[in-house]
């Protein structure tokens, strides 16, 4: 019987590495637009400023349109980046990402209605940050690593927000403004726009 040489071993390791990278690449959604996230961050900061001016942290008249505008900006910028980098727009990876993010966001919508109806609006900022973080962290399974860190950071901010509701507005500004800006700039620098 012949025994594999050290060269065989190195080649086998390199081949397994190639298989792993190819499988990851086939299942990952990489066309996350950094500029899109930066824009969403600015929108978040403007919303926080408007809420602060109006004296109501979780003013739904401000934050609901903000959420809608942010989703539109993120969708348009991601599609634009996918086209520019020649990546499939509606791949299996993005389909799965949407499916795992959607339940957390839907739960956030229902909880928003329930808490607002019962007058517990002081819990909204923490809940929004935590559920958005839960959705993003789960969706990041199929995307680049920076998105996972963003999701985990949102979760932490949400936990703080639920324990300290009086910090709601600064936490919303830090999350929907600051975190989107920081991670967006990171993606612009490291993943080309």
């Amino acid at each position: 019987m012949t025994i594999p040489t050290q060269h065989d071993r190195e080649h086998a390791k390199e081949t397994l590495d190639y298989i792993r990278r190819t499988m990851e690449s086939a299942t990952s959604f990489t066309a996350v637009s950094g500029w899109g996230l930066v824009t969403v961050g600015f929108v978040g900061l403007v919303a926080a400023w408007l809420a602060w001016s109006g004296g109501r942290d979780a003013d739904l008249r401000i934050w609901l349109p903000t959420a809608f505008v942010s989703v539109v900006i993120a969708s348009i910028s991601n599609v634009a980046k996918a086209r520019r980098t020649n990546v499939p727009i509606w791949s299996g990876a993005i389909r799965r990402s949407v499916w795992v993010i959607a339940p957390a966001l839907a739960a956030g919508g229902v909880l928003t209605l329930a808490l607002a109806r019962d007058g517990a609006t002081h819990l909204l900022p923490g809940m929004w940050l935590a559920l958005y973080g839960a959705g993003v962290t789960a969706g990041a399974e199929f995307s680049i690593r920076a998105i996972r860190w963003m999701g985990i950071s949102f979760l932490l901010l949400g936990a703080v927000g639920l324990l300290r509701p009086d910090w709601g507005l600064p936490l919303l500004a830090a999350g929907f403004g600051g975190l989107h800006l920081v991670i967006g700039i990171n993606i612009v620098v490291r993943h080309g726009g």
């Binding site: 594999p4 071993r9 190639y18 190819t22």
Partner: protein
């Protein structure tokens, strides 16, 4: 790879890089379009077509042609035979690594 029994019995059909890439991608993502595969493997249309045809002829992948938004769309899937061949190939790679390590430890 000439030094090992395992290496000598490798499936030459998926040993080739692009074909191994096609099979690996389809093992992870069931059902990929020509454009998806081309992007993942970073290869040319001609290269991908030639190697995909060889895998199709061997019964490792199944190709379906259809239309999406009135544009032709070719969809690739791994067959049960293709999946078995892929798993066997990965096992063989792992065997080579462990045999070489054992030999190194004995020497």
């Amino acid at each position: 790879m000439a030094g090992s029994n395992v290496a000598e019995s490798l499936d030459r059909l998926i040993h080739e890089r692009i074909r191994l890439g096609i099979v690996s991608a389809l093992a992870a993502e069931d059902g990929m379009s020509f454009a998806d595969l081309k992007q993942v493997l970073q290869t040319t249309d001609g290269n991908l077509s030639v190697h995909a045809r060889k895998l199709e002829d061997a019964g490792y992948i199944r190709v379906t042609k259809g239309f999406e938004d009135r544009r032709p769309r070719t969809q690739y899937r791994l067959t049960a035979k293709g999946r078995r061949a892929f798993e066997e190939y990965v096992n063989q790679m792992e065997t080579i690594i462990s045999e070489a390590r054992d030999a190194l430890e004995r020497s």
